[in-house]
Structures are given as C-alpha cells and as structure tokens.
C-alpha cells in the first residue's frame, strides 16, 4: 500500500524538519565538534588490577568451591555453554549460576545492573559496542593484565588463536574517537556474526539470476526478484529483507557493511574533535539508494523489521535474499528450522567501487564486572568459556557459529558440519580479513545510531535525504552537549 502512495507522511516529515530547526541552524552542524578527544573514564593501570594478586603456577582448582553468577542472553551460544557447564565445574570446582533473558530486553537488564554498581553478576555477555557504553564509567574489568599473567591464565589458552580483528574489537583506550586496539581488553570474543547476503537458491536457479557484485546490481537484482518471483511460483515473494526497525541494530548489519564498502563513514576526527559525517555526499547517495531498494523490493512494513522478521521471511520463502548476519541464514537452514531449510546459500555481498569487502560484525563477547567480588574465579570461567576446548565442542556439537578461533574454523569436523550450507565457508574465508567493527568508538553509540535508524526510516518514508541527515548530525551534536 505504502509502496505506491508514499507521500502520505511527507507533510509530517516536513514538520519534523522545522521542529528540529528550532534547536539550532542546520548549517552550523556540519563542522560542529561533537566531542573532544579526552579520556572518558578511569583507565585502570595494570598494577592496580586484581590480576596482580595471582602468583605461582597456574591452577584450575585455585578457586575450588566458589560460586559465580552469570547474566546470559537467550541464544544458541548460551545453549551450548549450558550444555557444557558441568565440564567446567568438574574442572575447577566452581559452580556457575545464571539468569537468562531474551535479547530484546537483555541489555536493559544488564545496563540497570551495571548502573546500580551492585556487582550482582560476575560475568555477562555483551557486544563489542557495549564496551563503548560500559567501559568509560569503569563498569568493565580490563582483562589484559589477566591474560598477560601466566599464573592466572592456563598455558594452552592461545589468545592469538582468536582472530585478530575480533580481539581488537573488544580492545579500546576509552578515548572518544580513538580507533580500537591499543587499550584495555574489556571483553573476550566468544562467537560472532559477519554480515553477508544469504539467498534462496531455488528462486535464484529458477529465475536464472546470480548474487549481485555491485550495489547498483543489488538494487536491480532485488527489483527483478520482486517482479518475477511471484510469477514463478513463489507466492508473495519479494526481493530483499534487511532490518528496518527504529533501533541501532538496523544500522549495524547489512546497511553498515555496504555503507562502508561504498566509502561511507559515521564520524571523522577533525583535529581533536570528533564530527558526525552521516550527511556527506557519499552517505546521502547511499541512504537514497538503500531506501529506494527497500521501498521497491523490500517487505511491506519494513520499518518494523527486527532481525527475526528478516530471518522468518527468508525461512518462510517470502524474502528471496537477506543482507544480514550470516548465522541468521544458518539457523533457518537447519533441518526443521524453517519451511525452506536446506535451500540457502551465502555470498559476500556487493563489493565497493574500489573492490572493498569491508564487513561489519557483531561479536558476542564475555565480560567481567569491575565490581565483581570473585574476579579470580570469574577469570577461570572466562578463559574456559573462550578457550579452545569448549569452543570446539560448542561449534561442532552445538550451534556456536561463527567460531572466533581460527583453529575451530579449520577443524575438519566443523568444516564437514558446515558443508551443507552452500558457500558458507567460502564466504567466511573471503571476508574474514576485512571483517571488523566499522563504527567509530564513542560512548553515545546507542543514542546516535538509534537516531540514525530513525532518520533512515524517514528517508524511506519519502523525506529528503540530505535534509534528514543534516538534521541527524545536528541532533547527535545536540544530544552530546
């Protein structure tokens, strides 16, 4: 309905412009300093760390009889962990109690606990972006001293086995705008998602089309699929599903991946000042293209698409392809996982004009509460949970994909397990070197990116892209003040 009649809410959007206009003049925003490059919080020096208290030979039974509490998100990774917990208790004598919450509410729960400073949970799951929110207030334990202390960490831990881009993603100086790496290790990579194209081979084969190699091809391919698939026996099928809800999570998968490949940036350092640049010409052009693609070839009601609608539509045969987390396709492809299980294939997605395959990633990581009273026991748990043994078992017997350790990916059993997911491993290997966090680290990531998603929705609804993004930049600057 809205696909053809889009100007319905143009008026409302025009009104929005002037609403923001009251706050300040849009012209001034482009160059406005968003934040200066200052350290935000207490940068814990290595010698202050509780890790320094651990001396002598490494011993798994060092904290025998202790109890730690974990906050977990409902997730296949968590299921694999729960299934293996007894092994940890047998190994260390430590018991793990956990509370589990669904993802939509998980971070709210975690934030409230960390904010309260009560240290209820010794360890918890978090994403790399959360380090930017939780690190500066000093809520996260820096684990670098722990990793580097041979008395605390088992000799077989093999920290370097974890892909470097993933390790770097959880490592930050806590200075706004400063690139990742070169600071404290505020979380340990545990499992991750890279964003790729996943498509329905049955449709592609029947229509004789192949995955797109450029952004323009992707727009055209999606349109072709939308046009032809319903006539080819795929009732109600449309071209492409991506996330579209008013959440920061709408920006970070396919959108951010392709945005970066096309040369788009979120912030730029200008001198000592960090400046939002979502209103650059490259960015405006990309927003228009993306919105057009979703409007013409995406689902009706796109602005209400969370990750699970994206996965659901792929599985139900409503979406011909998705541009989202690679594992979202994996779960739909499992036997009994959806009506079209077994029909999906992976592709790295369109390259940038310069051939770029930059890929944004989401890393489920494990972190330690800086207020924990059981840091030594918590550390034993964390190194076990991110260690080779557990992750290998979890990837092969459970659904712990994608693995964060090269050794697990290279494991023959794992390769065999993934073989029936067409081109999954090929895609993985093609992008893994370019898979990193493509956002600029800064503590208002969630506010800014949520506003960003709202702006994308407005452009989708028909608003002028340039004006909307100018206003977005203004809002981000304002919010920081």
């Amino acid at each position: 309905m809205s696909r053809s009649n889009r100007p319905l809410w143009m008026d409302a959007l025009t009104a929005r412009r002037s609403r923001r206009g009251v706050i300040g003049t849009a012209a001034g925003f482009g160059a406005a300093a968003f934040a200066s490059k200052l350290p935000l919080g207490p940068v814990a020096a290595a010698q202050d760390s509780a890790a320094a208290d651990i001396t002598g030979d490494f011993n798994w039974k060092r904290e025998d009889g202790k109890k730690i509490k974990a906050l977990l998100n409902v997730h296949p990774y968590t299921d694999a962990l729960k299934a293996d917990l007894q092994a940890f208790t047998d190994l260390t004598g430590i018991t793990v109690e956990y509370d589990e919450f669904p993802e939509n509410n998980y971070f709210d729960k975690l934030t409230v606990d960390l904010q309260s400073g009560q240290g209820t949970y010794d360890v918890f799951m978090l994403g790399a972006y959360m380090v930017w929110q939780y690190g500066p207030p000093g809520w996260l334990e820096d684990m670098k001293p722990w990793i580097e202390n041979p008395s605390a960490t088992n000799p077989e831990y093999a920290w370097d086995d974890i892909y470097e881009n993933l390790r770097t993603a959880d490592n930050w100086s806590l200075k706004v705008g400063e690139p990742l790496g070169g600071g404290g290790q505020y979380a340990l990579p545990w499992g991750f998602e890279a964003n790729t194209i996943i498509y329905n081979t049955e449709v592609f084969d029947k229509l004789g089309v192949a995955p797109a190699e450029t952004m323009d091809d992707l727009v055209a391919l999606a349109a072709t699929l939308t046009e032809k698939a319903p006539g080819a026996g795929f009732a109600d099928m449309y071209g492409i599903a991506t996330r579209g809800s008013r959440q920061w999570a709408t920006i970070h998968p396919g959108f951010m991946t392709q945005y970066s490949r096309e040369g788009g940036k979120d912030f730029e350092l200008q001198g000592d000042a960090l400046v939002p640049v979502m209103n650059s010409d490259v960015s405006v052009a990309f927003h228009e293209k993306w919105a057009k693609m979703m409007k013409e070839s995406g689902p009706a009601n796109w602005t209400n698409y969370f990750w699970y609608e994206v996965g659901t539509d792929l599985g139900a045969g409503k979406a011909a392809m998705i541009y989202d987390a690679d594992i979202l396709g994996y779960f739909q492809n499992q036997e009994g996982g959806s009506a079209n299980a077994g029909k999906f294939a992976w592709h790295p997605g369109p390259k940038g004009p310069d051939g770029s395959l930059l890929t944004n990633q989401w890393i489920w990581s494990l972190g330690m509460n800086a207020k924990s009273q059981n840091k030594s026991a918590a550390w034993l748990f964390l190194q076990w949970a991110t260690g080779k043994d557990h992750l290998t078992m979890a990837a092969i017997e459970g659904n712990m994909v994608n693995p964060v350790r090269a050794s697990v990916v290279e494991n023959a059993e794992f390769q065999a397990k993934m073989a029936n997911n067409k081109n999954y491993l090929e895609t993985f290997n093609a992008i893994i070197q370019d898979t990193k966090i493509l956002f600029t680290p800064q503590p208002t990531f969630f506010d800014a990116t949520t506003l960003w998603a709202g702006s994308l929705q407005e452009i989708y609804g028909g608003a002028n892209a340039k004006e909307t993004l100018d206003a977005l930049v203004g809002d981000i600057v304002n919010a920081a003040e």
Binding site: S2, P137, N304, T450, E458
Partner: protein, 309 residues
C-alpha cells in the same frame, strides 16, 4: 471530651477505651498500609532526586544541577513531540475504548441469548499480559506472514502496511490498545447499567418515550459517572503508555510513536542518560497526577448531577 485526670472516669470499667487510643484508632488502621507505602516512598523520592542531578553513564559522580534538566527538557522540541504523541495516543485510545466499551455494554445489557452467552468471554483479552498480546498482534500484522492481511485479502484489504507510516503506526497501536482495554470499559459500564434504578425507565415506557429519547435523557445521564470512571482509568493509563508501543515498533517509524514513557525508558535505560530519563518520568508523573485530579473533580460534579436525577 473529659479532662484527663490521674484516674480517668470509668477507667476501671468494662469496655474502657482511653481518649488517646480512640484518637489514634484510624491511624492504627492505616498504619500497615502507610508503612508499606513508606517503603515505596523512599525509592520514589530517590527517583525525584535523580532528576535534579546530572547522572549518566559517563558521569558516575553526579552533581546537583537544580532545575536545569527540567529547563532543558521543557525547552526541547523532543519533549513536545513526545507530549504530542502521548496526547494523540491517549485521547485516541481513550475515546475509541469509551465509545466501543459503552456500545458493547449496551449490547450486552440486552440480555439476549447471544449476548448472555458471549458475555462470559468479555474479560479474556484483559488477561493476556499486554506485552505478550502486543507481540502476538505484531506477528498478526506482519504483512508477509501475518494472518490479518491474509484474512483481509478477500475483502480487498490485503497488503496493509500496518506500521509503515506514522499515521498507520498510530492506528495500529491504538487498535491493539483498544483490543486489550475495551473489555475493561465495557465491564465498568455494564456494571453501571445493571445497577440503574428501573422506575424512571418504566415511567418513560409508560409515557411512550422512544428508545433514543430514553437513552439520551435517562440512560446516558445516569450512566455518566460510570463512563467517567472508565475514562479516568483509561486516560491515566494511556498517558503512561509503554508496553504496546515498545512491543510493536519501539517508537518507530521515525519517532512517530516516541511517547513520553518510551522516550524516558530509552534515555534512562538504553542510553544510560539516567537523570534525563528520570526527569521525563517525573514530568510524566506530574502530568498524570494533574490530569487525574482534574478528571476526578469533573467526576464529582457528574456524580452530583446523577444523584439529582
């Protein structure tokens, strides 16, 4: 009251109660509730105190900033936008629920075989937690796999994008809210209908008054207090809307459904701008408080009028 002496009159008698004890009697009755309440009052006051600080994640040691948060928020267009969204939702939802609820109550009060049978199901939608009901509605409204467009297709209404535009999104949240809470209004009004005295209606029937005349001049005025109570309850809760909006679109598309409470939630919890979120909530509390007081005084007058009938 007699003057207390060393040996108050009657103190040795059966059934003696000292004047002090008598004076304290109501307080004793209220005391347990009050003690419980004080337990709640503390966090409540604490919440208000936060609104006078500048606490946020990046500033773990907050300072008092007086009314600066209030000043900032009340001059911020985001607040007025949220207030406008809240007002639209609250008025829209309350109006529809009231009209529909009164209608349903009148239909049920007929006590026909059909309505008596159906009445027992009236309360069901109230019993599903709003947060879960909203998730279910969300799935029903999904254009690709949802059932609503599937069953509306035969009557030419397939392909509705339920939450794609601000107007549709507002329509959809109000629809869900109406589904959940219309039974509440209907229940209250039905109760009112059934307790109306019969004499005036018999008199009207004897005088040959038509049904519409009877409804307008008898039923409606006498029912007014009940309807108003339903309106107060619903309006008060609609101003605090959160579950339905958050569950459906998290405030989207754009910021079309960012009402005050979702805005406050986002600021306080999602973004850790704690004092800002808390200030939004104190303002919301004040709005609800004042609106309710106003409506209650209207109710008082309506009751007085109804009593005069």
């Amino acid at each position: 009251m007699s003057v207390a002496t060393a040996n108050p009159p009657g103190s040795e008698q059966d059934g003696y109660v000292s004047p002090a004890r008598r004076a304290w009697r109501p307080y004793f009755l209220v005391l347990p509730a009050l003690l419980l309440t004080i337990g709640i009052l503390y966090p409540f006051v604490q919440g208000v105190i936060y609104s006078f600080q500048n606490l946020k994640a990046t500033r773990p040691n907050p300072e008092f900033v007086g009314f600066r948060n209030y000043q900032r928020i009340l001059t911020d267009n985001d607040f007025w936008h949220a207030a406008w969204v809240t007002a639209k939702f609250a008025i829209g939802a309350t109006a529809v629920e009231t009209l529909l609820g009164v209608g349903v109550a009148l239909l049920l009060a007929r006590n026909s075989k059909v309505s008596s049978f159906l009445e027992r199901f009236l309360i069901l939608p109230l019993m599903i937690a709003p947060i879960i009901a909203t998730i279910m509605w969300r799935l029903m409204m999904q254009p690709s796999v949802g059932i609503l467009n599937y069953i509306l297709k035969p009557i030419g209404l397939g392909g509705i994008a339920w939450t794609d535009t601000p107007a549709m999104a507002m329509f959809s949240v109000i629809l869900i809210d109406v589904w959940i809470y219309t039974p509440f209004v209907a229940l209250l009004v039905l109760a009112g209908l059934r307790s109306l005295p019969s004499a005036p209606f018999e008199a009207a029937a004897v005088e040959g008054a038509g049904p519409w005349f009877t409804f307008r001049n008898l039923t409606l005025p006498m029912l007014a207090p009940y309807i108003l109570v339903a309106v107060i309850f619903r309006f008060m809760d609609s101003l605090k809307v959160f579950d339905v909006i958050w569950g459906l679109t998290q405030g989207g598309p754009g910021d079309a459904l960012i009402a005050i409470q979702p805005k406050a939630y986002q600021e306080a919890i999602s973004f850790s701008n704690f004092s800002t979120g808390q200030t939004y909530m104190v303002i919301l509390w004040a709005i609800v408080y004042l609106t309710t007081r106003l409506l209650i005084s209207v109710l008082g007058r309506a009751q007085a009028r109804a009593a005069g009938v």
